[in-house]
């Protein structure tokens, strides 16, 4: 094709051309659903027609060979239709109940764990990390693989009190978003500035404007225009690093991992909630991050043992109280847990509501 080909500005294609025909037939006609077993959804239409969905986990970062294997399965069982979920799970749909078990067997045999439905631990939504991003403190795919290996039974089962949505983010920008559990890089030292490069690479006013606590000021270093950071003010957020790569924030030791819990996007029961810091200072221990896995599993165990049906992580903790959460998980509570950001006072206990 010609180098000068004009793009066809077509936007997103119509989904119906790709959908399983049963979905097209019953579009907007669904009456109810249930889950015959973990990993399987049954949606029943007002017309009486049923669609079975079998859901399986993937690695998101898919090589073409894996995609083709998924396609083979879809060709065999689903007339060549396949769908991915918002969390990169794969869904196979069929109207034929008899196909469900064979489909499950095949998926498991090919190495795709079946599950992720209902009150399971879903796949961990994650970000780019060392594989692709220009500012990452860790490798999200690696953290997620290591963790999913440990959590696969919770993915396959539906034994949690409610859905568990875990996310990871490889820097504090948090492309992974809020989660019931969020596993995020937390830098602990101010950026290390390569003064020789600043003048050449960075638009200084832009960088200064990016700092949330106004800790950066222009400076002359060795006669060259550079920047300096007020280390007392700096909250080590790394926001200056993308616009100014010479302000290196990543550090093999001091870029730690923090764990946050109780984020919730849904407006179900409670209003949506932000996740809350529970653990920090965990080492960025590639390739399998055992310290992170240990904390995540401790939290999940406490939740699983104690929460009531339908309570999301954050709701459970609100009911039992944060004192009991820290007690149950044996995580230390420190001054860093006390919110100091704007409006942080709202997170103080301004009541006689106490948990003992």
């Amino acid at each position: 094709m010609s180098e000068l080909r004009r793009p066809i500005e077509s936007g997103v294609p119509d989904s119906k051309q790709f959908m399983h025909p049963a979905l097209v037939r019953n579009y907007g006609q669904w009456a109810w659903h249930d889950r015959p077993r973990p990993g399987v959804l049954r949606h029943v239409s007002k017309t009486g027609e049923q669609v079975f969905t079998v859901k399986a986990g993937t690695q998101r970062q898919l090589d073409v060979f894996t995609i083709r294997r998924l396609c083979d399965i879809a060709d065999t069982f689903c007339d060549g239709h396949i769908r991915f979920t918002i969390r990169s799970s794969v869904e196979f749909m069929t109207t034929d109940e008899a196909q469900v078990e064979p489909l499950i067997k095949r998926l498991e045999a090919e190495g795709f764990p079946v599950g992720g439905t209902g009150n399971s631990v879903g796949f961990i939504s994650h970000t780019q990390g060392w594989l692709h991003c220009d500012i990452p403190g860790t490798d999200a795919s690696g953290v997620v693989k290591a963790l999913m290996d440990e959590l696969v039974d919770e993915f396959r089962g539906e034994e949690m009190p409610n859905r568990v949505k875990i996310t990871t983010s490889c820097c504090q920008i948090n492309c992974g978003g809020q989660g019931d559990i969020a596993i995020n890089i937390q830098h602990t030292k101010p950026p290390v500035i390569n003064h020789a490069l600043v003048a050449g690479v960075c638009e200084r006013p832009t960088v200064i404007a990016r700092c949330p606590v106004a800790a950066i000021r222009p400076a002359l270093v060795d006669g060259k225009p550079s920047l300096e950071v007020d280390e007392k003010k700096c909250v080590c957020c790394g926001a200056c690093y993308p616009p100014c790569p010479p302000m290196q924030i990543n550090d093999p030791i001091h870029s730690k991992i923090a764990i946050w819990v109780g984020g919730k996007h849904s407006s179900t029961r409670t209003k949506p909630m932000f996740h809350k810091l529970v653990a920090a200072g965990l080492p960025n221990n590639a390739p399998r991050w055992p310290e992170v896995a240990a904390v995540v599993k401790t939290i999940l165990t406490a939740y699983k043992n104690d929460a009531r049906p339908w309570e999301r992580m954050g709701e459970w903790i609100e009911r039992i109280g944060w004192p009991r959460f820290f007690e149950a998980t044996q995580l230390p509570f420190t001054k860093y847990h006390v919110d100091t950001w704007r409006g942080g006072r709202a997170n103080l206990n301004t009541s006689a509501h106490l948990h003992f």
């Binding site: 504090q172 909250v235 944060w322 006390v338 919110d339 709202a346 301004t350 006689a352 509501h353 106490l354």
Partner: protein
């Protein structure tokens, strides 16, 4: 000096209606001759009517006090003294009542007599902070009136930038919910701070209030720099037979609606035999179910106090509620009281040393951060102090390991 009753057509409209009329009271005080109060009140009625007509106030402050004290008198000089000379000076003496606002009639009558002789005869029972406000005194009568009141056994209340008059709910004197002795705590603290009440030299005011339980009948949480509220840390007391009676009385559906459904932490379940399933670990000691089932439910037996700091009204950063600085401490023995007193002194000292001018405790905490405040008072951080941990990652955490070690080194929860 003798003067005619002023014409008060607007005020007169406040004499009709079923509620007791303060205007009728003012007129009764003015309606006579010879007594100091008669004269003062004639002037006052005139000025007040003038305020009603013009919709403006006409008092200004000044400096009036009693010998030995730096505060407790609120001086009022009239800006329209030429028109209403009899009430040109209309100062108030703030006097602290006994905790819980108890009186015998002998005491009250004696107060009335003093105030008829030296003042206007107008006494507010009580001011919003809890003072007896002897209102309407000429400058020259302040000292003699005070001398008599003081001889009766009453002391001056707070004003200005000092410790203020405290308030407490009736507590164990007549309330089954009281988890500590509000009246004793009130008296213990206030009587140890008389110097700071009478000779104010703080950055701004400091108020204590005492409520026996989370119902907070003394409005402590929102209106005291240091709020002391009763609570308990064991299980609540349940009389299941009385619960069953209550379910019967209300009906099942209504019992579910009024009790089960209204518990803020879903700590209550209704068993099929109409007994109550209490999850004490989830309970936040809010008092609701106990209020509804006064016979069936009671606070636990391991009672004590929690302390909140920083409540106040609007100036200057917006209203603030107090927030927990001590989730639980016992308050039974003399040693317990001594410990509370000691803490109160630390709070005062830290405030004196660290607050900016005209800054209240709550604003100071907002400025310096709760953890610095706790450190300043020598208090240990507790999870009950937060509604939730931080939601924002903008914090420098390189001291994490040391802080974690501190926590691990001590018992992790005040409850244990």
């Amino acid at each position: 000096m003798s003067k005619k009753m002023p014409s008060t057509p607007m005020l007169d409209q406040l004499e009709s209606g079923p509620w007791p009329s303060f205007v009728t009271g003012l007129k009764r005080l003015a309606d006579g001759e010879g007594k100091r109060s008669n004269d003062i009140m004639k002037g006052l009625l005139g000025q007040l009517e003038h305020s009603y007509q013009t919709r403006k106030g006409y008092w200004k402050g000044g400096t009036v006090g009693v010998f030995g004290y730096g505060a407790g008198v609120i001086p009022r000089f009239s800006e329209v003294a030429e028109q209403y000379p009899e009430s040109s000076e209309f100062h108030t003496l703030r006097i602290m009542p006994a905790p819980g606002f108890f009186y015998d009639t002998k005491t009250l009558r004696q107060m009335c007599d003093i105030w008829e002789e030296h003042g206007s005869g107008l006494i507010a029972l009580h001011g919003q902070s809890g003072d007896i406000m002897f209102q309407g005194c000429r400058t020259d009568q302040v000292q003699p009136a005070w001398d008599k009141i003081n001889e009766m056994g009453f002391d001056m209340g707070g004003a200005g930038a000092g410790v203020r008059t405290a308030a407490s709910c009736i507590g164990p004197a007549r309330c089954e919910q009281a988890c500590f002795d509000t009246l004793r705590a009130h008296r213990t603290i206030i009587n140890d701070f008389t110097d700071d009440i009478h000779r104010p030299s703080l950055p701004y005011k400091l108020k204590f209030k005492f409520s026996g339980c989370a119902n907070d009948c003394a409005n402590a949480t929102q209106r005291a720099d240091i709020a002391i509220l009763g609570t308990w840390r064991d299980d609540m007391q349940v009389d299941q037979a009385e619960i069953q009676a209550k379910v019967k009385q209300l009906g099942r559906k209504e019992f579910i609606n009024q009790v089960i459904r209204m518990c803020p932490t879903q700590a209550l379940g209704l068993n099929d035999d109409n007994t109550l399933d209490v999850d004490n670990k989830s309970c936040v000691r809010c008092m609701h179910c106990i209020n509804v089932c006064t016979k069936a439910l009671k606070p636990g037996t391991d009672r004590g106090i929690c302390i909140l700091a920083g409540g106040k009204r609007t100036l200057k950063i917006g209203d603030l509620m107090g927030s927990v600085i001590v989730p639980f401490m016992k308050l039974d023995t003399d040693e317990d009281y001594a410990e509370l007193l000691d803490l109160a002194h630390r709070a005062l000292d830290f405030f004196a040393d660290n607050a900016l001018e005209h800054e209240r405790t709550g604003e100071m905490i907002e400025r310096i951060g709760l953890t610095n405040y706790l450190e300043g008072l020598g208090l240990e951080l507790d999870v009950n102090m937060v509604t939730q941990p931080r939601t924002n990652s903008y914090v420098r955490t390189d001291g994490w390991d040391e802080e974690a070690a501190k926590w691990n080194a001590r018992k992790p929860n005040a409850a244990e």
